[in-house]
Assembly symmetry: C2
Homo-oligomer: 371 residues x 2
């Protein structure tokens, strides 16, 4: 089945939207949060855990899979879904973000990027827009991303413009390289923190034509108001009938603010990474489980949460597991945080459906102590 | 409900027995393997995982729980079962084995053992037979163990005898200290590698009277024939109507050999620890998953295995997870190895029930390449 997007409802008070993505591995209700499975596993969770908590799509990282175990191996195993035993939709990024994070270990030319891997001790690799697409076709994700440059923050206007123009040329090459695999290809709006570059980027990508549009290069050090401004500068240029994806963002508040501004898709390592550090998201703010205040606390992490962890374990037990460096601690924490994000998006969707998204947003932010 | 043991069937060709243990947290079919949950968690597994794979009882370690999080905390949370969310039976050891493993960090007197903890940087602690029982009563396991000295291997006859006499006096003090909590108290047969000391130990313990009898101090460096000899020296002295528990043993072969010699209960870290190293037990021997031969292997760990891991994942994927240092690797491996042990005991019980245990044993050892 080819990829498609149905816009089900538009909120009247905000730019929030309710939609549905259709892929050959299943449907996805939007707005959606995609847990991050960097190395073909959402760290600590089994596919069964993800299904049980209602995840509909996960993200995996092309850069990591290209280096290990290699995209050919995954292709030979029938694609990422079969390889990792997750039979629902997957999105892969293009590898751009990770490659550009390598700083002095990479060199950019018009053709592509040469870089030294963080794994095999400096072996040189080359990724061009064409082979970023080819690698992602081998990985077999339902949604794949154009190869872009994610510029550092802060960046000068000159550098941002120059990089953006190259990213647009790369986007065109990605579009041209893409075979008829049934996979969706998303373009990525860049332009640093310059609203007019963001607008220009969005317009240029729309002219090329993609199955969806992502906003990249945000949550990289700028303030929240600047991030929101960049979303607001980009989204109005994007077509209503295509999904919009805010890459690598963010906190629960960021998700709600993103939805308010018309974003349909999110991914972020925050819930999984924080969980492994013992920091849990709740309806009333953060719980840092190693704190001594939880030593004898017989309550679940969040008494309002319905996740496996909160239904079965106390803060005192979780604190014990973290203090004793038990592997189970990482998983139980991840189960909670990912469930919290997924549940948040379920509530967001319900509130849009009921025409009370802004009311939900107000209550949510007040209770979290962030408004 | 008080603890009891029903002997259901005795094999005619061997000393194998089929039985059932009754505890206030549920029944246990014997012969049984008890997965080890040292710090109030079977490493990497949730209680749900354990239930799904059919575990009926787990073991936890008094020494570790005494130090962290402390037995009073666990008592205040309603005992180990409630604290860790495992609502089936638990057995705790007495802490003796761990304390005596501390070597120069501990000092034995008639009264008990003074030791420096491995956790809190040398804080001094004291465990006597009386407070070993008290701690275990606080932990609330269904089966608790007498405090014994587990002597080093090899040990002289003089030392073994002297230690054994003290262990017998300690066993008597444990029995006297034990309150009417509904918990079963097991005595531990010691005596090093000296058959007559083993016999003497068993007889002395029977005179004191326990709810079950364990064999301690085995699988500590002696050869297999010596271990089997010690089992054979001890078991005939033990009463038929009480369960017999071979502590800390062992390989799949050891379990089958133990059952053949009349053992009802086993525990060992081998399946869990090996799993975390990427070494898996199968019906045809070991699989060391990091080996390059598995790089493109699309088969499950053991094609005959019905565990969650073997039903869902290939060797190639598991190898990738181990190479990428992913936490999920540890859990999927543990699921397999613990399932393998539990399934082995299910097959052992079925074969005893069908009067074909020896036939099963022969086939099992032949296929494993160990006979």
């Amino acid at each position: 089945m080819a990829f498609s997007f149905d816009l089900i409802k538009k909120d009247t008070e905000s730019s929030a939207r309710l939609g549905k993505l259709f892929t050959s591995h299943g449907e996805i209700s939007t707005p959606v949060f995609m847990p991050v499975g960097t190395q073909a596993t959402v760290k600590t969770l089994s596919p069964e855990d993800l299904v049980n908590m209602g995840a509909e799509i996960i993200l995996s990282n092309t850069y990591h899979l290209f280096l290990r175990p290699g995209h050919e191996l995954i292709r030979d195993f029938g694609g990422l879904q079969k390889f990792m035993g997750w039979h629902r939709p997957v999105l892969t990024d293009s590898g751009g973000f990770q490659v550009f994070s390598l700083a002095e270990l990479r060199k950019i030319t018009e053709e592509g990027v040469t870089f030294q891997s963080h794994i095999d001790g400096g072996a040189k690799h080359f990724i061009s827009p064409e082979n970023a697409v080819e690698i992602q076709e081998a990985l077999g994700a339902d949604i794949i991303m154009a190869f872009d440059e994610c510029i550092p923050f802060p960046a000068t206007h000159d550098y941002a413009r120059e990089s953006l123009e190259r990213t647009i040329r790369w986007a065109r090459r990605c579009r041209a390289a893409k075979k008829d695999t049934g996979q969706a290809l998303f373009g990525i709006v860049q332009g640093g923190m310059y609203p007019e570059l963001r607008r220009h980027s969005a317009e240029a990508l729309i002219e090329i034509g993609f199955d969806g549009y992502a906003l990249g290069g945000l949550s990289v050090g700028e303030t929240k108001p600047v991030m929101y401004e960049m979303i607001e500068a980009s989204v109005p240029s994007l077509p209503q009938d295509k999904p919009r994806y805010l890459m690598g963002v963010g906190t629960p508040e960021d998700l709600v603010e993103g939805v308010d501004r018309g974003i349909d898709m999110f991914d972020c390592v925050m819930p999984t990474r924080n969980a492994r550090n013992g920091t849990f998201f709740t309806s009333f703010g953060k719980v840092v489980i190693r704190n001594s205040q939880y030593e004898q606390d017989a309550r679940p992490i969040d008494p309002e949460c319905g996740c496996y962890t909160c239904r079965n374990f106390t803060r005192a037990y979780l604190r014990h597991l973290f203090n004793a460096n038990e592997v189970l601690a990482l998983r139980l924490g991840t189960v909670h945080n990912v469930f919290f994000y997924l549940e948040l998006m379920r509530k967001v969707r319900a509130s849009i459906g009921q025409g009370r998204f802004r009311e939900f947003k107000r209550e949510f932010l007040t209770k979290r102590g962030t408004e």
